[in-house]
């Protein structure tokens, strides 16, 4: 876990607080992940706030991030999404659906041989720009795709 950027992002203060909690027997190591869920970022309500919350306010556009999504989502509650990063040293990929009530959909960190890639299914409230944000070497990169939705999937 230590090499994952989440610990770094949280800063040494948070890390040592967790270490103390573990030592005191308050937290079992297996429970650490739940404690780290980035509530502040996931509860943001606008895309701009989301990007700032994850530290990607100054993300640079990149053609080395490939987003595969349908241009027209047939079922808004299960929109397929596939993101691949070709940026060297990719540490994590975040997915932001700008028009969703809470734009941040997920944040995936990769380590120990995991390719910077994932495929999944997400819900979309309405037609929206979907952004993939990549963190690599402490910098942020982004790419987007516009996806049309006929009937919202969040209601």
């Amino acid at each position: 876990m230590n090499q994952l950027r989440r610990t770094i992002l949280k800063g040494s203060g948070a890390t040592s607080a967790i270490a103390v909690a573990v030592a005191a027997g308050l937290l079992k190591p297996s429970e650490l992940l739940a404690a780290e869920w980035n509530k502040a970022a996931f509860e943001t309500k606008t895309a701009a706030d989301t990007l700032n919350a994850i530290g990607a306010g100054a993300a640079v556009d990149s053609k080395d991030i490939v987003i595969k999504m349908p241009e027209l989502a047939e079922t808004a509650v299960t929109v397929p999404v596939e993101v691949t990063s070709k940026i060297a040293g990719t540490e994590s990929i975040m997915l932001v659906v700008e028009k969703n009530p809470n734009p941040l959909v997920l944040d995936m960190a990769f380590a120990n041989g995991a390719e910077p890639y994932f495929s999944g299914r997400i819900k979309m409230m309405e037609t929206s720009r979907v952004k993939a944000i990549v963190r690599a070497g402490g910098k942020f990169y982004s790419a987007f795709k516009d996806v049309k939705v006929t009937i919202g999937g969040c209601g």
Partner: protein, 103 residues
């Protein structure tokens, strides 16, 4: 323990990991058609996938991930017989674990 399907298939030097989780992924906005009540927020918050004991994927999720989440990942350097373990924890503290062997 909720049901989970997970598979790890080697193709050259890359292992494809596919997982289908069982979870309602309620976003806290949907109304129950029968009772008219809002169904409370209930979703997976954290998910990890480890291969041969090392964390490969460390994910944080929101309720905008579809019901019964499906994920696919690719991991390099895994060997046949390596154990793949997926763990998740939701916002109510419920957990589940699934295992597969790299084939």
């Amino acid at each position: 323990m909720l049901d989970m399907k997970i598979r790890a298939q080697m193709a050259g030097d890359v292992t494809d990991i596919k997982a289908l989780l069982t979870h309602p992924m309620e976003n806290g906005k949907r109304k129950d058609m029968k009772t008219g009540q809002i169904v409370p927020l209930h979703f997976i918050q954290t998910m990890t996938v480890s291969v041969a004991g090392k964390t490969a994927i460390d994910a944080q999720l929101s309720a905008a991930v579809s019901k019964n989440p499906y994920f696919a990942f690719k991991v390099k350097g895994a060997k046949a017989g390596d154990k793949v373990v997926l763990n998740w924890v939701d916002n109510k503290g419920e957990k589940s674990t699934g295992e597969a062997t790299v084939a």
